[in-house]
């Protein structure tokens, strides 16, 4: 698990796509923090929101585009290896659970590192690190990574997961916020299955997102164990 995770983590830093995503994260963090005072004067915000204005840009970016970024970088984390048959070398040496968890932790560590740097950058302007929002952000990327891995296990063709990654990346935030705020009883129950419902609350219910991520990973592992390589 550690060996696969390490390789996944390092390989994520090598691609041009990763460089672009890291640049977007850092630029968004820097400018949203730098122009935080300007934002406060321009839009109406609650006291709590105003207090966290420095991380507002970064959290917003990940809420709306996080799934797209993660799918863009890691949509083929499993199915590319299956497609190119390199997965055969892996499954003959270690357990499928170790492969899946290794991939997950490699990607997770990449995002954890990027977000840590981004939050440190904003802390220069905010003069503090908000661990609550940081934890919320980590919970969001955790479920987005789990979902991306599930897609990569479910769909054998890497080209198709790229397409679906874009579709879900764009559709999820829209549908997610809709089910959270809608009064339609037929769909509002779905809010319990989206991270947005738990992130919208100012308490520690965002921990449920980690549990949901675990369920998604468990399901992905269940399928992966039965898949031919």
């Amino acid at each position: 698990m550690y060996v696969i995770g390490k390789r996944e983590f390092i390989s994520l830093f090598k691609g041009i796509k990763s460089c672009i995503v890291i640049a977007i994260l850092l630029i968004t963090s820097y400018y949203s923090a730098k122009f935080a005072d300007f934002l406060i004067s321009g839009i109406e915000l609650s006291a709590k929101e105003a207090e966290n204005i420095h991380t507002f840009g970064l959290l917003g970016l990940l809420l709306f585009l996080g799934q797209l970024f993660i799918a863009g970088l890691s949509h083929d984390t499993i199915n590319q290896e299956t497609h190119e048959r390199t997965m055969r070398f892996l499954v003959t040496r270690t357990s499928r659970t170790s492969i899946l968890l290794g991939k997950f932790f490699g990607i997770w560590m990449f995002w954890f590192s990027c977000l840590t740097v981004s939050f440190l950058l904003t802390s220069i302007f905010a003069q503090k690190i908000d661990f609550f929002i940081f934890s919320q952000t980590i919970s969001l990327v955790t479920i987005q990574i789990s979902f991306t891995i599930l897609l990569s296990v479910l769909i054998p063709k890497p080209g198709f997961t790229m397409f679906l990654g874009i579709v879900f990346g764009l559709a999820f935030p829209i549908l997610g916020f809709w089910v959270v705020f809608t009064s339609n009883v037929w769909v509002s129950w779905m809010k319990f299955f989206t991270p947005f419902y738990y992130l919208e609350r100012d308490d520690f219910t965002f921990i449920v997102i980690f549990i949901l991520s675990g369920v998604i990973l468990f399901f992905a592992n269940f399928i992966f164990k039965r898949r031919e390589c």
């Binding site: 190119e84 390199t86 055969r88 070398f89 892996l90 003959t92 040496r93 270690t94 170790s98 031919e228």
Partner: protein, 301 residues
């Protein structure tokens, strides 16, 4: 000690059976050859044993442990049938990555030693994307042995290799056997299997139709022994008698003076043929008995 044991191992895709209930035992220290035409189910069988695919029915054990088992994987080396390698990694990086994955991280010196064994020592830092097919095959073997496994699965280890490289790999396989390793290999090269393997199984349409040592297989096929006899001239008065007798003694009779070729179904017949020549006042100058080759046995199946 048993290295591989399968009980009624089956694999079907939908209603199409690929492997039809294989019972097999491979002892430790053997080089076991698995033969069969394309599509016979050889690779599917290996893929089940190496956890690449799941069986539809039946059980198997490797090194005494029921599979699939993740701990046993660390004691098993596999060279899959395809050149399944990472194009962006070098040969050395491959060895380091996959040995670490097997729980025995290989140092630089051991990696170079293994690359030397397969004849790739001068390509250690070359990206695999630039490797030829034969070089990928060699690296596949290096990856299979890098963690010093007890049991090796080699799927067509020398296909696509030049003669010199193939001989080099044969030596390597024999050397591994001498060190107590068990090798389970498939091959299309019958001469290779005949030369290397201590036991052989022939697979046809998902089933093992014959298995045993080369001698056991030959014994089974000794019912058809081809005999070539060189003799002194047969007197004209005896020629018809001899011809009639030989026709009754065997099949595929060919008489081209001074040679007679005949296929008999019993070794004892050879002595009778020699006596028949003597009774017809002709001397037998030379007798050549053609043992059934693996090719004969394979083609017959």
């Amino acid at each position: 000690m048993i290295a591989i044991e399968t009980k009624q191992l089956k694999k079907s895709y939908g209603s199409v059976p690929i492997v039809k209930g294989i019972d097999l035992i491979v002892e430790k220290g053997e080089i076991f050859g698995f033969l069969g035409r394309n599509g016979a189910g050889k690779s599917t069988f290996i893929n089940i044993l190496t956890d690449i695919i799941q069986p539809s029915f039946g059980t198997y054990s490797l090194l005494g442990v029921e599979g699939p088992n993740d701990q046993v994987k660390k004691r098993v080396g596999v060279m899959p049938d395809y050149s399944t390698l990472y194009g962006s990694l070098t040969a050395m990086e491959h060895l380091k990555y996959l040995s670490a994955l097997s729980g025995k991280p290989a140092g630089k010196e051991w990696c170079l030693e293994v690359l030397k064994l397969v004849g790739l020592e001068s390509h250690a830092r070359k990206k695999v994307a630039k490797f030829s097919f034969g070089m990928k095959k060699k690296l596949g073997i290096a990856l299979a042995i890098i963690h010093d496994p007890e049991l090796l699965f080699l799927d067509e280890p020398t296909s696509g290799l030049d003669a010199e490289s193939a001989i080099h790999i044969h030596k390597l396989i024999r050397g591994l056997q001498k060190r107590g390793k068990t090798i389970f290999m498939t091959s299309h090269n019958l001469a290779e299997v005949e030369k290397l393997c201590t036991r052989i199984a022939i697979m046809k349409e998902g089933q093992i139709v014959k298995s045993g040592t080369m001698d056991e297989l030959r014994d089974f096929y000794r019912s058809t022994i081809k005999v070539k006899i060189k003799h002194s001239p047969v007197p004209k008065s005896e020629q018809l008698n001899l011809h009639q007798w030989l026709e009754s003694a065997g099949t595929d009779l060919e008489m081209n003076d001074p040679y007679v070729t005949i296929t008999v179904n019993d070794e004892k017949r050879i002595a009778e043929i020699i006596r028949a020549f003597q009774q017809c006042r002709a001397d037998v100058l030379r007798v050549e008995v053609e043992e059934p080759s693996l090719e004969d046995i394979f083609l017959d199946e």
